[in-house]
Every structure is written in structure tokens, then in C-alpha cells.
């Protein structure tokens, strides 16, 4: 399935799905992020969703109409035709099983196709993407309690809560976590994938237009979970290169010891970013190994019992040792 056709389909179908949303809350339409996918992966997700929904509406809408019409039509006051003993019809039963079966078969076919298209480990849809000819940008993602650490092994830099990637390049993400499971998600951009301690998961996306998105955790991981956001900035290649150079010049180095301080439970309200040069080459592996050896970063009692005070502290406290 080639991408341009897909986008056309999405453009055509989008208003259909958006209509009720518009009616209900026109003012917040802009906030309904999933109706504005960016990039091929999210585009494919939207595309498949729309086809699936429309296929299902083929059966849902008539059934809904019947649900409304039958009780009205056959209300006792209307004296419509009444057949008290009619309780079986082979034709209707065959249709009742057959039509859903046909529709479900089609949906199954479509959804399996879709699964391969957006498989986060190796999205089929990115195989022929414009950026596929260039080497991918590799980013290692470590979810701590409750911040995101992004390590760029090829560039030798690291950031907190700030994912910067060049446009027109495929981005490969490798994820793990320190002590709790988190869900990595950038709506409109990348599929949701869990970041899990002692395990490694992956995600991938490519965006061709510079833009800024918000990402966050989707899997509850404790008291600071609601604040666990990060910004995703897609910038032109040249800007990315100069940004990398500026971070490389940063004197803060992300050794494993420095990381252990960062990984202490911290609420980074407002997702204030921090930048590091020369991260430990094997930081990702060391975090995974530590998790496998049973290292956890326990949340101090003060955070759990009186987190209201602490989230305030967290907002003022430096997000990272600088």
C-alpha cells in the first residue's frame, strides 16, 4: 500500500469521524490529537482505524436503527402485526451469523495487515520511507521515576525530557526502565510501547516536517506519573547537527554514577530539560543489568505519604545535578 494513497483516504474519511466530535465540542477539536497524525506510522494507524470503523458501521448503524425502530414500531399501543409464536427462521439465523462473520473476516485480514505495517520493532510502513536510505538515528530511552533519559549513542550526548530528532530520518528507539514499567507514547507520532525494567523494547518513527510534539508515560508508575512528560522536537538536519554540537560541548557528563542520582525519584514538573555530553557508552546496558540484579530506586516515604508537598519541591528542585 503506497503512502500517498493512504493519506488521501485519510483526508477523505477524516471529516466523517470528526463530525460528531465537532458537534459536541468544537472548541476543543484542536486538542483531539489523534485526528491529526503526523508521519507514516501514525498515518497508517489512522488509516487502518478509519477503514475498520467504517466497515464496522456497515453493521452497527442498521442494527442501531433496528434497535430504535423495532421498540417503537411494535409498541403495544400501535397494534402492529403480532406473531407471538414466531421464534425461529433459518434464513434470519444464517444471516445473523453470516453477515458478522463476513465483516469480521475482512476486519481480521485488515488488522493483521496493519499489525505488520506498524510493528514497532520494524514497521513495514517505514521500509520504503524517504528516510529509509539514510542510516537511522538511534536513541536509547531510559524511563526513570519519573523522568525520561534519552541517550544518543552515536552522537555521544544525552538529554532529560527532551527528544530532538532530525526530520527526514528514521528514528529507532530502544527502551528500558529503572524500576517500574512505563508506557512510552508520543501521540500523533509513534505507537505506544512499554518501557520495562530489565527488558528492552523498541519503537520507530519518521517525520518529514519539523514540528514539536508532547510525549508522556501511559502506564502508571507511581506518585509522579502524571507529570512524566517530555517534548519531542523534530528539526531540520542542519539544526540537529548544530544542536548536537552544542550539547557535545556541555561540560556535564552522564556517567553511571551521575545517572544513579538522576534515577532517584524526581517529579520534573513542567518537563524542564537537561543536557549531557559523553554519556557512559554502555549506560543502557548497565541500567538493564542493574535492574536484572535487583537494583530498584525506592520511592521515599515522604513522596508517597505527603506527595503534595513533594511535588511542589520537585518542581523547584533541579531536575538533574547541574
Amino acid at each position: 500500500m503506497n503512502p500517498p494513497k493512504q493519506r488521501r483516504a485519510s483526508l477523505l474519511l477524516k471529516p466523517l469521524l470528526a463530525l460528531p466530535a465537532l458537534l459536541l465540542s468544537g472548541c476543543t477539536m484542536a486538542g483531539i490529537r489523534l485526528f491529526h497524525p503526523a508521519g507514516l506510522v501514525a498515518g497508517a494507524e489512522m488509516h487502518y482505524t478509519l477503514i475498520l470503523v467504517i466497515t464496522m458501521l456497515i453493521i452497527i448503524v442498521p442494527t442501531l436503527l433496528m434497535t430504535i425502530i423495532f421498540p417503537l414500531r411494535y409498541h403495544h399501543s400501535r397494534n402492529a402485526k403480532y406473531t407471538p409464536d414466531w421464534h425461529f427462521s433459518l434464513t434470519i439465523e444464517l444471516l445473523a451469523w453470516g453477515i458478522p462473520f463476513a465483516i469480521v473476516a475482512f476486519l481480521c485480514y485488515l488488522t493483521i495487515q496493519g499489525v505488520y505495517a506498524v510493528n514497532p520493532w520494524a514497521p513495514g510502513i517505514l521500509a520504503n520511507a524517504p528516510g529509509a536510505r539514510q542510516p537511522p538515528i538511534n536513541v536509547e530511552v531510559i524511563a526513570t521515576d519519573w523522568q525520561w533519559v534519552f541517550v544518543y549513542p552515536d552522537q555521544g550526548i544525552a538529554t532529560i525530557d527532551d527528544l530532538v530528532v532530525p526530520s527526514g530520518r528514521v528514528v529507532h528507539l530502544q527502551m528500558t526502565a529503572t524500576s517500574n514499567m512505563n508506557g512510552f507514547y508520543i501521540p500523533q507520532v509513534a505507537p505506544m510501547v512499554d518501557a520495562m525494567p530489565a527488558m528492552e523494547s523498541r519503537d520507530a518513527f519518521e517525520l518529514d516536517q519539523p514540528a514539536t510534539y508532547t510525549g508522556f508515560s501511559t502506564d502508571f508508575s507511581g506518585a509522579g506519573f502524571s507529570w512524566m512528560q517530555f517534548s519531542t522536537r523534530v528539526v531540520p538536519q542542519a539544526e540537529f547537527d548544530s544542536w548536537v554540537a552544542s550539547v557535545q560541548a556541555n561540560p556535564n557528563q552522564l556517567t553511571y554514577a551521575a545517572f544513579q542520582k538522576i534515577a532517584q525519584p524526581t517529579v520534573n514538573a513542567g518537563a524542564k530539560p537537561a543536557y549531557f555530553s559523553a554519556p557512559d557508552k554502555n549506560l543502557f546496558g548497565e541500567v538493564m543489568t542493574a535492574a536484572m540484579q535487583g537494583v530498584v530506586y525506592p520511592v521515599p516515604d515522604s513522596f508517597t505519604k505527603r506527595v503534595s508537598d513533594n511535588s511542589a519541591q520537585g518542581a523547584q528542585a533541579p531536575a538533574s545535578p547541574q
Partner: protein, 687 residues
């Protein structure tokens, strides 16, 4: 081998100390005041009217399936109320804590609940609604109606039945105790791993959750065994398999599911328990532990559990729609086939709850496709209900209204569920409010079915109908409230709002949150009408007919209203599917038996309620690590069971004269009437 716990521990009281009582939290203190006041009023009233002995003799120690059913339903409704209050608090918190400039009250930075408290509230909401509201309501209606519909005297194992009830109650009691002593779990109702493990969650909250869950699931397993054995072994003569009402079929499938899934979650919880108590490493991240294993085991239970609750709802619709369409159920055999298909498919789709965890596309593809298959039998059921209404004579009594709205909700929930089953869509909304809205649609189907069922069978049990006028007001306000609460959640989900947020980052979402909060307000209005409905019906008590709705078709409407505690004075002979409709067609629905034979009934026993109380103590002691008390209460349970097994009591016999008297004056046999003491039989040895 006890894992060292943070903080003080003493041999006598374990981790329990005065600091465990949250007297500094105004919300909990006021809740405690209300609960304590209610408790005092209820006990005081019972004392004042001299009913304490009656409650003990006729209710707490009963083994009558109808009384047990009623108590299940009372438990379910009380817990439904508490779960609803939790839900209201959550929505209010999200409304208040919206955006960085949102104000904070009662010591919270945003909103009025600190994250830790908020997390406990939604955990409690999920746990209570599923295990202590929906499950008891489903089990209660099943207990009440299935033996009546198959013409049985009681369940196959009345004593086990009471034990199931009291184990469920003990789980609910632990949840209630956790409000005022210590804390509840903050690790969500599914128990997130490794978050629930000792290193990251050292408090007693997870233990409370674990034991409440464990005790109630043991109760539910027993109940499932009992129901299956009842349906297989206790059917009245002539009640062949394909003469059983569809509700019994759906009870059978549901309990087959229940029996097969609950052991799995028992294992998962036990593993978590020994992790927490003995320091093993099943679900930790380190030492080779695999927390995905918990997720896997949990959802092996968790997904069929959805159908465990859903199938009885379908069964209820299948009873109510024909009655109020005054027409036989359309497509009975395919209805049965669809129930079994749903049960079977429900067992092989669990991994769609963790599409985002990193299984390969072949697995995600398989689980997506398998999940979609559920749409086929569910669609068949919907069509069969529609064609039952087609060319019927429909009346809009309250149960029918609930059934109709349930059908509409099922379509919406089904559509969104089919969307979610496609993992390509799930990647965008997993763990979002869209999911929350979807499964609330589904539980509202269950809720609608349960309200329908309670309204429908109320007159059979108590002898008078619930007030129609207030019932309909309750219905409309409830439906409006549900729409207001949950439609915005779909949109919030599309906006990318995650579930379980105690703070929402985007102030632009305020209008939607307000709509949702308006729905909560509307729920309070509907609650008022619910109370008014109860009050008016209890005040007027207009006697109902045996066939209370006039168009009943199944066996339970054949016996007296209110139903005597012995169900049928003489066991009916079954001649057809929809026996009562058949008798009406033959003009013999009023023919009563001409003579009676004595009925053998089991005696009441205090053992189940004692087991329940000891189980509560056991759970509490384990939670607080009071080892001596845990061992003592566990031993006490075993000793009580052994003592009971030496009991020679063989029940009692209701003489034919007694039956004749009660048949002429039905109120004497009603389940709320106090029965005179009847001498027990002793068991004799065989030779």
C-alpha cells in the same frame, strides 16, 4: 523467612500501630463518621425493634438460596454506592487539577487529593466495582433465579453457597477496613508489576487489595462449582437441556468460565503474596523475575472475567425482552450456541490487554483477530433480541427500558471494543481514557442488565413491584448521567489523555471535564430517585400477582409471589421450553397441586458466617503481619470445618399440613417471615 519491612513491627500487633489510623485526613474522617453513624443507626434500629435475633436466625445463618441471593445483592448495591463515590471523587479531582495553574485544596498541590490518595481511590474504585459490586450482583441474581427457573428446591450445596457469600463479604469487609486502618493499594485494580512488589510498594495497601481479591475469588469459585452442579444435577423432572431458560444457559456458561479462570488468578496472587512475604522473585524485575508473567496470568483470568460478568447480562436480556415483547425468544438454539462461543472465544484472547508490551506481530495479529471473533456471537445475540421484538407486543416497563438501553450501549461498546481489538488502533489509545470509556460502556451494559434484573424479579422475591414512576425517573436520569460522564471520555481519549492521571496537563480540556462532572451531578439526582423508588415501593407495598408482569414465560413465575422459602410446594413437571407460556396456552396455569408431600430442607447453620468472620481476621492479620493471629485464625477455620463435619444434623422436614397452611397464606412462607423452630433430623448409619 519474613522479608524485612520498613518501619516498626511488634510480635503482638505486627505492623499495626496508632499511626495507621488516618485521623488527620478530613475526607477519611468524615467518611468514617458517616459509616459509623449508619452502622449505629442500623444496629440501633435492629435492637430497638428487637430484630437482632431475627436477623441472626433468618439471614446471617441462612442456607436458603434466595436469602443468600438477596444478601449478595445488598452487598453489591452498597459496594456499588461506595465505588460510585470513588468515581465521583476521581472525576472531581481531574476537573480541579487541570492545568498548571489549577488550585490545590486540603494540602494537595493541584485539586484536593494528593497523588497517593488519588491512586488508592481509583484502585479501590476498580476493585470494588468488579469484585464487590458487579460480581455479587451477578452471583446474587443467579442464586435467586436459577434454582427457581429449573424447578429445584435449593442449590446443590446450600452450605457451600452460604460459605461463598460470606467469603465474598469478608473480602468486601477488608476493603472497608482499609479505609480507616492503614491504606488501600495504590497499584491499580490489576496490580501493576513490579510496582506492587515489596521494594517499590512496601506499605500494607497491596496486601489489603491482595487478600480482599483472593478471598472473594475463592468465594466466587465455590459459587461457580455450586451453580454448575445445581444446573447439571438438580433440574426438575422433564426439564431437558433444551427446555432450560436461556438465563440458565448463560449462568451455566458463565460459571464454567468462573470455575476455570479463578484458579489462575489465585495462582497469580499467591505468587505475588509469597514474593511479598517470603522474598521470592516471581514478579520482580531482578533475580530473573518476570513481571510479564503476572500480566499474562492476570489476563488469562481477566479477559474471561469480562465475559463472566457479561454473559449473565445477556441471559437477563434474553429473559426480559421476550417477557415484555409478549413473544417467545427468537432463535433459542443459536442463543445457546452464541453463549458457548462467547465463553470459548473469551478464553483465547487475553493477550489483547498487553499489545504494547512487545510481543511479535504474529502474536498481536492472532490476538487481534481472535478478539474480533467475539463480535460474531455477540452480534447474533443482538439480532436475536431484535427479532424477538419484531412483531411483538412491547410494553415499556422499567426492566424493558433498561434492556433497550443496554442493547444500545452494547452496540457502542462493541464498536469501540472491536476498534480496540485491532492492535494497530490500540497502539494509539492503549491505557487512555478511550479505553476507560469503552469498558465503562460495557460495564454499563452489565449495570443496565442488573438493574433490569433486580426490577424484574423484585416482585417475585418480595411480593410487590418497585414503583414504576420513580423507577423510570431513575432510569432516565441514570442514562443521561452516563452519557454525560462517558461521552467526553471518548473524546479525551482521542485527545491523548492517559488514564490514572491525578493531574491533567492541558487546561483546554476543561469544557469536556465539566461535562463529565455534570454527569456525576446527574448520577446524584438518579441516586435520589433510586432512593425514592425504594421508599415509595416499601411504603405502598402493592401486592403483585404470581405472574407479576402478566406476560412471564418461565417457571419462576409459576410459584407464589412472594416466593415461599421452599420454592414450589410440589415439584413441577416440565412439559415444554417456556413452561408457564405452555401452561397458559393450555389454560392450566392456575391449576394447583391437590395434595402435598413433606419437604426435606437443610437447617440453618452459623458455620459459614463464622468462616467468613475468621477469613476477615485472617486477611487482616496477614495484611498487618500479625503472624500469631494469622495462624490462629487459619487453624480456627480448619477446626470449625472439622467440627462441622461431625455434625449429624440432617436438616428438617416440612410436614404436608405446614405446607398446606403456608400455601393458603403465602405471607407465612415469604422469605422475610420468621419461621418457627422445627426439629432437626439426625443422620442414621447405613447397614
Amino acid at each position: 523467612m519474613q522479608v524485612a519491612v520498613d518501619g516498626p513491627w511488634s510480635p503482638l500487633l505486627g505492623r499495626l500501630s496508632l499511626a495507621a489510623i488516618p485521623y488527620d485526613n478530613p475526607i477519611l474522617v468524615s467518611t468514617f463518621a458517616v459509616v459509623a453513624l449508619l452502622g449505629i443507626v442500623i444496629i440501633g434500629a435492629a435492637l430497638y425493634f428487637g430484630k437482632l435475633g431475627y436477623i441472626w436466625r433468618e439471614w446471617l445463618t441462612t442456607v436458603d438460596h434466595k436469602k443468600i441471593g438477596v444478601m449478595y445483592i445488598i452487598l453489591g448495591l452498597v459496594m456499588l454506592f461506595r465505588g460510585f463515590m470513588d468515581g465521583a471523587m476521581m472525576r472531581t479531582q481531574q476537573l480541579l487539577a487541570d492545568g498548571p495553574n489549577s488550585p490545590g485544596y486540603l494540602g494537595a498541590q493541584h485539586g484536593y487529593l494528593p497523588p497517593y490518595h488519588f491512586d488508592q481511590i481509583y484502585t479501590a474504585h476498580g476493585t470494588l466495582m468488579l469484585f464487590f459490586a458487579a460480581t455479587p450482583l451477578v452471583a446474587g441474581l443467579g442464586n435467586l433465579i436459577v434454582p427457581l427457573q429449573i424447578g429445584a428446591r435449593d442449590m446443590a450445596f446450600p452450605y457451600l453457597n452460604a460459605t461463598s457469600l460470606w467469603l465474598t463479604v469478608s473480602g468486601a469487609a477488608l476493603c472497608m477496613i482499609s479505609l480507616f486502618v492503614g491504606e488501600f493499594s495504590n497499584a491499580t485494580w490489576v496490580g501493576l508489576m513490579p510496582f506492587s512488589e515489596m521494594p517499590t510498594n512496601p506499605g500494607v495497601g497491596v496486601d489489603y487489595w491482595m487478600w480482599a481479591f483472593q478471598l472473594s475469588s475463592i468465594g466466587t469459585t465455590f459459587n461457580a462449582i455450586n451453580m454448575i452442579a445445581t444446573i447439571v444435577k438438580m433440574r426438575a423432572p422433564g426439564m431437558r437441556w433444551f427446555r432450560m431458560p436461556v438465563y440458565c444457559w448463560s449462568s451455566l456458561t458463565t460459571n464454567i468460565i468462573g470455575l476455570s479462570i479463578f484458579p489462575v488468578v489465585t495462582v497469580a496472587l499467591t505468587m505475588l503474596g509469597i514474593d511479598r512475604y517470603f522474598g521470592t522473585h516471581f514478579f520482580t524485575a531482578g533475580y530473573g523475575g518476570n513481571f510479564m508473567l503476572y500480566v499474562n496470568l492476570f489476563w488469562i483470568w481477566g479477559h474471561p472475567e469480562v465475559y463472566f460478568l457479561m454473559l449473565p447480562a445477556f441471559g437477563l436480556f434474553s429473559e426480559i425482552v421476550p417477557t415484555f415483547s409478549n413473544k417467545a425468544l427468537f432463535g433459542y438454539p443459536t442463543m445457546v450456541a452464541a453463549s458457548f462461543s462467547i465463553g470459548g472465544i473469551g478464553w483465547v484472547v487475553w493477550a489483547h490487554h498487553f499489545f504494547t508490551m512487545g510481543m511479535g506481530p504474529e502474536l498481536n495479529g492472532y490476538f487481534s483477530a481472535a478478539t474480533m471473533l467475539v463480535g460474531i456471537p455477540t452480534g447474533v445475540k443482538a439480532f436475536n433480541w431484535l427479532f424477538t421484538m419484531y412483531r411483538g407486543r412491547i410494553t415499556y416497563a422499567t426492566p424493558m427500558l433498561w434492556a433497550l438501553i443496554g442493547l444500545v450501549l452494547l452496540l457502542i461498546g462493541g464498536l469501540t471494543g472491536m476498534m480496540l481489538s485491532a492492535s494497530v488502533f490500540d497502539y494509539t489509545v492503549h491505557n487512555s481514557l478511550f479505553v476507560v470509556a469503552h469498558f465503562h460502556c460495557m460495564v454499563l451494559v452489565i449495570g443496565a442488565a442488573l438493574f433490569a434484573g433486580v426490577t424484574y424479579w423484585w416482585p417475585k422475591v418480595f411480593g410487590f413491584k418497585l414503583d414504576e414512576r420513580n423507577g423510570q425517573m431513575y432510569f432516565w436520569t441514570f442514562v443521561l448521567a452516563s452519557l454525560l460522564v462517558f461521552v467526553p471520555l471518548f473524546y479525551l481519549g482521542f485527545a491523548g489523555v492517559t488514564r490514572r492521571l491525578d493531574y491533567i496537563y492541558n487546561p483546554a480540556l476543561k469544557p469536556l471535564l465539566w461535562v463529565s462532572e455534570g454527569g456525576i451531578g446527574m448520577y446524584f439526582v438518579s441516586l435520589f430517585y433510586f432512593g425514592k423508588m425504594l421508599y415509595v415501593s416499601l411504603r405502598d407495598q402493592i401486592p403483585a400477582q404470581a405472574d407479576a408482569w402478566g406476560t412471564g414465560r418461565t417457571l419462576e413465575w409459576l410459584t407464589h409471589t412472594p416466593v415461599p422459602f421452599y420454592n414450589f410446594a410440589v415439584t413441577p413437571q416440565i412439559n415444554a421450553r417456556d413452561e408457564l407460556a405452555w401452561r397458559k396456552a393450555k389454560g392450566v396455569e392456575g391449576v394447583q397441586p391437590t395434595h402435598y408431600v413433606p419437604i426435606h430442607l437443610p437447617s440453618n447453620t452459623a458455620v459459614p458466617v463464622i468462616i467468613g468472620a475468621l477469613a476477615t481476621v485472617f486477611g487482616f492479620a496477614m495484611t498487618w503481619r500479625i503472624w500469631w493471629l494469622s495462624i490462629a485464625s487459619l487453624l480456627a477455620i480448619i477446626i470449625v470445618v472439622i467440627i462441622r463435619s461431625f455434625d449429624k444434623n440432617e436438616g428438617y422436614v416440612l410436614s404436608a399440613e405446614d405446607i398446606a397452611k403456608m400455601e393458603n397464606q403465602v405471607a407465612l412462607a415469604s422469605i422475610i417471615a420468621e419461621q418457627p423452630k422445627r426439629p432437626a433430623l439426625a443422620q442414621v448409619e447405613a447397614h
